[in-house]
């Protein structure tokens, strides 16, 4: 399985001279096995960069949304610029008791917020609400579960039968767990999605000082992401959803502090745009 990051910024795209190394685009991750089909996780502004991917022309593309906050869906309006008319497109997202997924997406993809309506986009897109527990896609098994973040928000775990990746880009596990956070798997939001996973892409937006002033905003500190990764037995933590105010230098410092807090029972990487991860089963020949 190959996992490529096309957007690792949270909340707001943040292009400026000091953010080019880790990247300025909001959440978008590509997951593929053979290239015959493709899974895209979230449609932030990073979706536009997916055009650079050799697998962007896969005959079938499944785009999985964790939730409908703007930084995770803003790229949808330009989906016709990324995928061609001959590609089968499926868009998946969280259910909500209020309105169906198409209606909720239509709040963005309609005037005055967008010049075209979702039904007018020059692409045929099949829209689905993620079924309870997840679904099987052509090359990947998808598990989905609700995670602690404002509004109906899913985390995903993808597996090809040999390797697995968990994607929880917007998550505040410490808020849900309180004193039991991470010490009790039973009471830790997202635990089962990330348990023993080969690659964990997890919200790590804040420093500890920032988080203390932003509790309940729905995001995690780097420290809590480290705790979560250790508690779930993830093999490799990639921090994502970088705060738009954090430039490359600041992110370097956050990474240094995170490394100093180790040793960690997992590999640690600060997610950056364009980074690719080839997942191999343990003890396989690489």
């Amino acid at each position: 399985m190959r996992v490529t990051l096309w957007g690792v910024r949270g909340s707001l795209p943040s292009p400026r001279a000091g953010t080019m190394r880790y990247g300025a685009n909001t959440s978008c991750v590509e997951v593929g096995v053979t290239g015959a089909s493709l899974v895209v996780l979230d449609a932030g502004s990073g979706l536009f960069r997916l055009r650079e991917s050799a697998w962007a022309t896969a005959s079938r593309v499944d785009l999985l949304l964790t939730h409908l906050h703007m930084d995770h869906v803003v790229g949808l309006g330009f989906i016709a610029d990324v995928f061609g008319p001959d590609q089968e497109l499926h868009l998946w997202g969280p259910a909500s008791p209020g309105a169906d997924l198409r209606s909720r997406l239509g709040r963005y993809l309609s005037p005055p917020l967008f010049p075209a309506r979702i039904d007018d986009l020059p692409r045929t897109i099949s829209i689905h609400e993620v079924p309870a527990g997840g679904m099987d896609l052509p090359e990947l098994e998808v598990r989905a579960d609700w995670v602690c973040h404002p509004g109906p928000t899913l985390g995903y775990r993808l597996s090809d039968g040999l390797t697995s990746v968990a994607y929880i880009p917007d998550h505040e596990p410490a808020l849900a767990g309180g004193t039991r956070f991470a010490s009790s798997p039973e009471w830790t939001s997202g635990h089962d999605l990330a348990e023993g996973v080969d690659l964990l892409l997890h919200d790590s937006q804040y420093t500890e000082a920032e988080y203390s002033a932003r509790m309940s905003w729905g995001h995690s500190s780097v420290r809590d992401a480290l705790i979560f990764a250790a508690a779930t037995g993830a093999r490799h933590l990639v921090t994502v959803h970088h705060d738009p105010s954090h430039d490359d230098h600041h992110l370097d410092e956050m990474l240094d502090l995170a490394r100093e807090a180790g040793p960690h029972p997992f590999e640690l990487t600060m997610g950056s745009e364009g980074a690719a991860f080839e997942l191999h089963p343990p003890h396989s020949d690489r």
Binding site: P94, P97, V130, A132, D145, W146, L175, P185, W187, D192
Partner: protein, 130 residues
């Protein structure tokens, strides 16, 4: 033990922080938690509780009908919330040694955004006599 549903995790967190008595059950009617204010009304600490189900609560709490008659587990608001997916309220008399008091209970279901029933939660309070 598999992870609890997010609704249960968040409900427990809320229950721990509130001054009202709260009791949480899973979709199968197994009691997951009651908070400290609830302990005073239930008559037992959560830490001392053996695995408990909704069906055990009548005896644990010493509940009888307001007219003094027996109460079945099915008559508990939690049972209605689980079975019928609606909010339900009822008051009971509680035998507490030689004293009787009124306990009110309002329960509602915990349904995930996709509609799956993941449990129910009840708020309990001491209802002043008339």
């Amino acid at each position: 033990m598999p992870q609890r549903p997010l609704t249960a995790i968040l409900a427990r967190r809320l229950a721990e922080l509130l001054a009202q008595g709260l009791l949480l059950v899973d979709a199968e009617g197994r009691v997951l938690f009651w908070n400290e204010p609830g302990e005073a009304l239930i008559g037992r600490t959560w830490a001392d509780a053996a695995p408990v189900s909704v069906g055990d609560l009548v005896d644990i709490m010493g509940l009888v009908g307001e007219a003094g008659g027996a109460v079945s587990a099915d008559e508990l608001p939690l049972s209605t919330a689980l079975a019928e997916g609606r909010t339900c309220h009822r008051s009971f008399a509680q035998r507490d040694g030689g004293m009787a008091r009124r306990i009110a209970m309002t329960a509602f279901p915990l349904d995930a955004p996709d509609g799956r029933r993941q449990g129910a939660i009840a708020v309990l309070w001491d209802e002043p006599g008339e």
